[in-house]
């Protein structure tokens, strides 16, 4: 993989300690002093560094780490923050991802703000623990930098790793830039820790495309962060002063009401995400759509639906397609769980053809392609406007999706629009004429 050898400038800068704005290594500097120094500055950070900075600002109490590329750089940055005394947190070197997530859950269950993360097969190794964490309503946070699942070994990004866990009850969404990564971590804690909700969050970014490519990140003041994200109190923490039992056995007839409660938590999440996203923009002056980023959708006939870092290339393509007279647009999903059914229906209520760009692998599913299109199609089926839907398998194995591939996809959508039907439910880009 070529990406692994790209020098990671921002981390280098961090660890070399050059300039007054690097946070990592100035010895003997006080946390408050350093964060005051950073207030309002813009740093050039990659996605991993942005994640680490967000955890620093969030003043997390317990971090559980286990190495796997590419998310490891997040933990490397955090260990350095701790070594320099900029962050006071227990940093736990777990003996595997299952233990890593279990330890985060144990910490979260006692009321600590816990932070962890993983990539690729690391995410699947921890699989058993996702449902217990969400079911116990412990709002721990996990930073994901995607990596293709084995086989064969591949460092490149594919969203399949995190998407495998999509039905376990975690909030889950992809950021497209380092700035959005930073913001989404803070937003994620604020949403997940809301006492009306209490759910764990997966804050995802494409491996390498976002995790290891730098972008400008505006850093807030610590007061801004503390106002938006105050220290929280888990109402049912494992505290000897107020004993509770977590996770006892139930009888079968006690199952359905508890499952219904979990299902409803996802509906509650829709409202809380909307509310907190608004609060975020009031607090930091950067606005995000709560669920769907709309790009040139007003009059769009053919629309790409996707998530993550490739959306940046997609936007450039949409502009070029417009020059050719094709009414193209893009809708980017900001959260995948809970799935924004209503917002997506609204965003696509004038679209004629929708092309889902998958960047994941869903073997043997209804579309015989990827995972995203299944949710997107279901959402649109129940909407007032029912556009044609197809999907594109692209960017697999961590390949880039260049503009000519997006153009090829647009042509397929235009053909479908003219014909009045799609050729097939999923196209393998690069393998078809």
């Amino acid at each position: 993989m070529a990406q692994t050898t790209i020098p990671d400038k921002s981390v280098e800068k961090l660890t070399r300690g050059e300039g007054s704005s690097d946070l990592g290594v100035t010895p003997g500097i006080d946390r408050a002093e350093k964060l005051a120094d950073l207030d309002g500055t813009t740093m050039r950070l990659n996605g991993c560094a942005a994640s680490a900075y967000a955890a620093l600002y969030a003043d997390v109490d317990v971090i559980t780490a286990y190495p796997i590329r590419p998310y490891t750089a997040i933990m490397m940055n955090l260990s350095q923050f701790i070594a320099e005394g900029l962050l006071d947190a227990e940093y736990l070197h777990a003996d595997g991802e299952h233990a890593q997530l279990s330890a985060a859950l144990g910490a979260g269950s006692c009321g600590a703000r816990a932070f962890t993360g993983s990539s690729g097969v690391g995410i699947t190794y921890a699989f058993e623990v996702y449902s217990p964490a969400a079911g116990a309503r412990i709002p721990i946070q996990m930073a994901i930098a995607d990596r293709t699942l084995d086989p064969p070994g591949d460092f490149g990004s594919e969203h399949t790793d995190a998407l495998c866990t999509r039905d376990m009850g975690w909030l889950m969404g992809w950021a497209a830039t380092p700035q959005e990564v930073f913001d989404k971590h803070l937003l994620g804690y604020a949403i997940g820790e809301d006492p009306r909700l209490l759910l764990p969050q997966m804050i995802c970014q494409d491996g390498y495309f976002v995790s290891h490519i730098s972008g400008d990140v505006e850093l807030p003041s610590i007061e801004q962060v503390e106002r938006f994200l105050p220290p929280y109190k888990l109402p049912f923490a494992l505290d000897p002063k107020k004993p509770v039992s977590h996770g006892p056995q139930i009888h079968p007839e006690q199952g359905p009401p508890l499952q219904l409660e979990r299902a409803r938590s996802m509906e509650t999440a829709i409202d809380i995400i909307r509310e907190k996203t608004k609060e975020f923009s009031d607090a930091f002056g950067r606005s995000y759509p709560p669920f769907v980023e709309e790009f040139m959708l007003e009059d769009a006939e053919v629309v790409f639906v996707m998530q993550g870092g490739h959306s940046v290339t997609c936007q450039a393509t949409v502009k070029r397609l417009r020059e050719r007279g094709i009414k193209a647009g893009m809708a980017r999903l900001v959260w995948f769980r809970p799935f924004p059914t209503e917002d997506l229906q609204k965003a696509l209520d004038r679209a004629k053809v929708v092309g889902v760009v998958e960047t994941n692998l869903g073997l043997g599913g209804a579309s015989y392609g990827g995972i995203l299109s299944l949710d997107v199609t279901t959402a649109l089926y129940h909407g007032a406007n029912r556009p044609l839907v197809t999907s594109f398998m692209a960017g697999l194995g961590g390949e880039t999706i260049p503009i000519n591939e997006f153009t090829w996809m647009a042509d397929k959508m235009v053909e479908a629009m003219e014909r009045g039907s799609v050729e097939k439910a999923s196209h393998w880009v690069g393998f078809e004429d």
């Binding site: 006080d30 946390r31 109490d61 317990v62 559980t64 005394g85 006071d88 947190a89 227990e90 736990l92 070197h93 777990a94 003996d95 595997g96 299952h98 233990a99 890593q100 279990s102 330890a103 985060a104 859950l105 144990g106 910490a107 979260g108 269950s109 006692c110 009321g111 600590a112 816990a114 058993e128 623990v129 217990p132 116990a136 220290p231 923490a237 494992l238 505290d239 000897p240 002063k241 107020k242 004993p243 509770v244 039992s245 977590h246 996770g247 006892p248 056995q249 139930i250 009888h251 006690q254």
Partner: protein, 364 residues
């Protein structure tokens, strides 16, 4: 950063003198009367364990010794399923279920949380006792890695294995601590495999003591209440990780008469099959308990249906293992026990006669 001091508890040991001094019984064994104990029972009524359940006895003594300022984790196993029923759990201390492989890791997280929250002023109060009680399937098999990781990282917590020598909760399957010859639903004796289980047990506690610097490690059984409670307190008082391996008979899995749970806890030690010891990591020294009475293994085996199928040569092999244990402990092996290493000295186990009621059932 201003950090608050993490104040830790110190639990006094129970007196082994005075009211609780040992007195010899009619066979010369030391009997302890129970000392004045705390009235509080953080492990209360409300559980559904079997009559004669060894782990339930252990849970009660451990939590009585630990007291109310304690946080407990329980990985999947009998003592999850039989203890903690929704809206009717027996705990007056905070308790959490963990996945079966997460006993070590989840508990690490709890310890890390309290270290961090107290230090950062987010929690008011003394550092609570943090302990996990994991079955042998969890501690010696699927979760051994996570417990090893936790002991290695040296969290200030007590990791206990309640060892009923099988996966009892799922219907008595073999675990790494099931003894040689034990009949389980995964190691049934038959014509081709007459002994049942063919492997000797994993030496879990020695793995923990030899492999984890700074870790206080001890073994004990439910036959020695005071020892169990004091080792619990020593483990909790130890600054850093502690591991306690406790032998806890399973009436359902081992097939014995229900009042014999505590008696088995003594006989297993007196027959040399479960060495009781304590490991001091600072001195790197083991201190072995040599019981005043040394018995043939038959005295122990014949009480349990799970061994009822054993042939003379299988019983002799158990005696060999016991005698090697005595030697490891630095105890003399009496001539009569050495002679029992010979298969000729034994009958088929089901034909043995004993003063204690013997369960003639074969198998689990």
């Amino acid at each position: 950063m201003t950090q608050k001091e993490v104040v830790r508890q110190h639990l006094p040991l129970f007196e082994e003198q005075g009211r609780s001094a040992s007195v010899p019984d009619d066979v010369g064994r030391n009997l302890h009367y129970l000392p004045d104990m705390p009235e509080e029972d953080p492990y209360q009524a409300g559980h559904r364990t079997c009559a004669g359940c060894g782990p339930a006895i252990q849970y009660r003594w451990v939590l009585k010794a630990a007291g109310q300022n304690t946080v407990v984790a329980g990985p999947t196993g009998c003592m999850y399923v039989a203890n903690a029923t929704y809206m009717s759990t027996p705990y007056t201390v905070p308790w959490a279920h963990t996945q079966i492989a997460s006993g070590g890791s989840f508990t690490s997280g709890m310890a890390a949380a309290y270290e961090s929250m107290i230090r950062k002023g987010k929690y008011e109060g003394e550092y609570p006792n943090i302990l996990v009680m994991a079955g042998d399937g969890s501690a010696a098999d699927i979760g051994i890695g996570s417990i090893s990781g936790a002991l290695y990282r040296n969290h200030d917590a007590l990791f206990i294995c309640y060892d009923n020598e099988c996966y009892a909760n799922t219907g008595i399957q073999t675990s790494p601590t099931t003894p040689y010859g034990g009949s389980t639903t995964f190691t049934p004796p038959g014509k081709v495999i007459p002994e049942g289980k063919k492997l000797p047990p994993k030496n879990l506690a020695k793995m923990m003591s030899e492999g984890h610097p700074n870790c206080y490690v001890a073994t004990t059984t439910v036959g020695y209440t005071l020892d169990l409670m004091n080792k619990t307190r020593k483990g909790l008082n130890h600054r850093g990780a502690a591991f306690l391996h406790c032998y806890t008979p399973c009436q359902k899995g081992w097939v014995y008469q229900t009042p014999m749970t505590v008696e088995l806890g003594r006989r297993v030690v007196e027959s040399g099959l479960f060495p009781v010891w304590e490991y001091d990591p600072a001195e790197r020294k083991y201190e072995y308990f040599i019981p005043p009475e040394q018995r043939p293994v038959v005295d122990y085996l014949a009480m349990q249906g799970r061994f009822g199928h054993m042939h003379p040569e299988h019983v002799a092999l158990m005696q060999v293992a016991a005698n090697r244990n005595w030697e490891d402990m630095g105890a003399d092996v009496p001539k009569r026990l050495r002679e029992l290493e010979d298969p000729e000295a034994h009958k088929h186990l089901k034909e043995e006669e004993y003063s204690l009621p013997v369960n003639r059932g074969i198998g689990a």
